[in-house]
Amino acid sequence: MTFWATLSINGIAFGMLLFLLGSGLSLIFGVMRIVNLAHGSYYLLGAYLGVAIMRATGSFGLAILGAMGSMFVLGTLMQRGFLMRLGTNVLPQVLLTMGFLLILADLSLWIWGGNPQILPIPPALHGSFAVGEVIVPVYRGFVTAIGGGLALALWLVLERTRLGAQVRAAVDDPEIAQAMGINVPALATVMFALGAALAGLGGVLGSPFLGVYPGADLDVLTLAFAVVIIGGLGSLPGTLAGSLFVGLADNLGKALLPELSYVTLFAPMALILAVRPRGLFGRT
């Protein structure tokens, strides 16, 4: 029982971290039809910046704000300066974001070196508490709470506000939305930057237990893709479902069939792709 509870709690926490990445990837795809391979870089840079700011100031809050802010700016620059010019040409988009992924990876290797780093968290988030026999690390609870809170906030914004209505309109039919007076290009930039900021937040929140190292960008990108493919690109509830699925499948798969842990993770993804190419919640 303890075994299952520990794995489930951990799987949910990991899922919520993946949600931060997946939701950004999904939002960006929704409004711009861009598959952004550089999304893993925001995670990597966010994590490195978070570690650097935390070391310099000792403030976890500043680390989060600094990383999110810088990734927001980087996202804006990338979208305005490069991606917007390409329109909806898929191949140039993918190649360009791939290029960014490699450049940013090399840049961070150059700036921060190859040594792995781990973000020191504030003492308040240290340790663990016991629920009966089950040990819950405080920090995992914290990540779950932030991820869950953000999921709720994003849903409220998209479903209950004027901005959200505009985003949905732009996702459904950008040309009509534009004709109705919605500034679609501006909206696309904001969504892109927001997605980047969320991935940066994921980096800061993930680095205390996953660490940050050259290659972390690709590691999380693979999982984020699994999340959005399973859940359906462009769908927020789908991303949430996909995140929880991948988080739990990753944990249970590694515990029960460690030799096949990638199979337990990616076989369902392949199956879903075959049966529902647009994912569980994706619109056809």
Partner: protein, 411 residues
């Protein structure tokens, strides 16, 4: 005419002394990962060699020395290409470096076909100096992967009084061989390994593995190395296991590359390695002091491996009068060396198969002021790759692997 004399004097003083000697410059080829995830280990290794170069003013055994550096990016295929380039186009006379065991294995045939004397400074694959040894290679650094594990298996049973342990290790050759060596010696005297888990390389979250560890074992034997060890130890503490079940493992987990990033959760951990920057011998104090002054950070076992490999080549060259042309004589000179006091890690020599025989240290992570260090709390003197087993008997068995020894007591 006077100005000519002055100019000549200036030139003679300014040029490296190598050009003054009668023999041509000795070229040494270095192969190691200098980019990618393993770059920190390659950098430390090279720094160790460079430090020795500077201390000897680029002169080994009466000859001026130059090191030609190639990055193998931790890939066996790249390593082989770069070695070919070093031997055939740069005409190096000696090869050194090698961190990736797969790269070192890939090199064996080529090394022997070219009779290129090779000093493996790190790569630990057991069979490199056991069943699949290249005639023209010796291993002066690190030793076989299982070399540190075997004494620990013994010690864990006899001194730490562990009876039942669970193991968890990276699912690749080093993990297999290290755990294999531990298990064999631990079970030979009555201990029981009740669970063996293999985590895929690059595992982000170990919680699924940690959740499966039986809570009634005496210790967790963990061989999770490189940057991954940081996460492993943090996650172990997060799950409340720290303080309940001790971890023991290879010194790679808490090496001087990882240590500055580690915190309270590491304090008290026991690991084994053939080196610690906190080793209190005159040679090591001198080495640590020089390294810290030169590079502004503590040396790791990789730095020490580079330094000692260079020391080894220098001493062998001193014996052959700087000549490598007679390859067999040079290999003999390397094999016969006994370095009693000058290697930072302690007394070293080679066994009949060219693998280093050295002290293995049991180290405990201690806090000293604001930093952590690996305090040596026990020394296993002159440990060979065969530990207490007769080499012939040892070599008749298969190399340690995922399923050798078999897990007889797994529950």
């Amino acid at each position: 005419m006077r100005w000519l004399v002055v100019l000549g004097t200036i030139l003679a003083l300014a040029l490296p002394p190598a050009y003054g000697a009668g023999m041509p410059l000795l070229k040494v080829g270095f192969i190691g990962p200098l980019t990618g995830v393993f770059a920190p280990t390659g950098r430390d290794l090279l720094d160790g060699i460079n430090l020795y170069m500077e201390q000897t003013r680029q002169r080994w055994g009466e000859r001026g020395v130059v090191v030609i550096v190639e990055d193998d990016t931790f890939s066996p295929a790249v390593a082989l290409t770069k070695v070919r380039k070093l031997v055939e186009s740069d005409r190096v006379e000696l090869l050194t470096g090698f961190i990736n065991s797969a790269a070192a294995y890939a090199m064996r045939e080529y090394i022997d076909s070219k009779s290129a004397p090779t000093v493996i400074a790190v790569a630990g694959g057991d069979d490199l100096t056991q069943r699949l040894r290249a005639k023209f290679s010796v291993r002066t650094g690190w030793g076989a992967s299982s070399q540190t594990a075997q004494p620990l298996g013994d010690y864990a049973y006899r001194v730490l009084s562990y009876r039942r342990v669970a193991t968890i290790a990276d699912d690749f050759a080093f993990g297999h061989e290290w755990v294999g060596g531990f298990q064999r010696m631990f079970e030979d005297i009555g201990g029981r390994v009740v669970q063996k888990q293999w985590a895929p390389l690059g595992t982000a979250d170990f919680t699924p593995f940690l959740a499966r560890i039986p809570r009634d074992v005496d210790a967790v034997v963990a061989a999770v190395v490189g940057p991954i060890a940081l996460r492993f130890i943090r996650q172990y503490a997060d799950l409340g296991l720290r303080g309940r079940i001790p971890i023991i493992g290879p010194g790679h987990m808490t090496d001087e590359i990882n240590l500055p990033q580690m915190g309270e959760e590491t304090v008290g951990m026991l690991t084994v390695l053939h080196y610690s920057a906190a080793l209190q011998t005159p040679a090591n104090r001198k080495f640590v002091e020089a390294h810290t002054r030169r590079f502004n950070r503590l040396p790791s076992a990789y730095s020490e491996a580079g330094y000692t490999a260079a020391l080894w080549m220098d001493r062998a060259l001193q014996r052959t009068g700087g000549r490598v042309t007679d390859k067999d004589a040079f290999m003999k000179a390397m094999a016969a060396l006994v370095i009693a006091a000058d290697a930072p890690r302690g007394p070293v020599r080679l066994d009949a198969l060219g693998n280093v025989v050295q002290n293995v240290y049991l180290r405990r992570v201690d806090r000293t002021g604001t930093t952590l260090q690996n305090t040596v709390i026990h020394t296993f003197p002159t440990v060979s790759q065969f530990w207490t087993v007769d080499p012939e008997v040892f070599l008749r068995g298969p190399v340690y692997s995922r399923d050798n020894p078999r897990c007889r007591f797994c529950e």
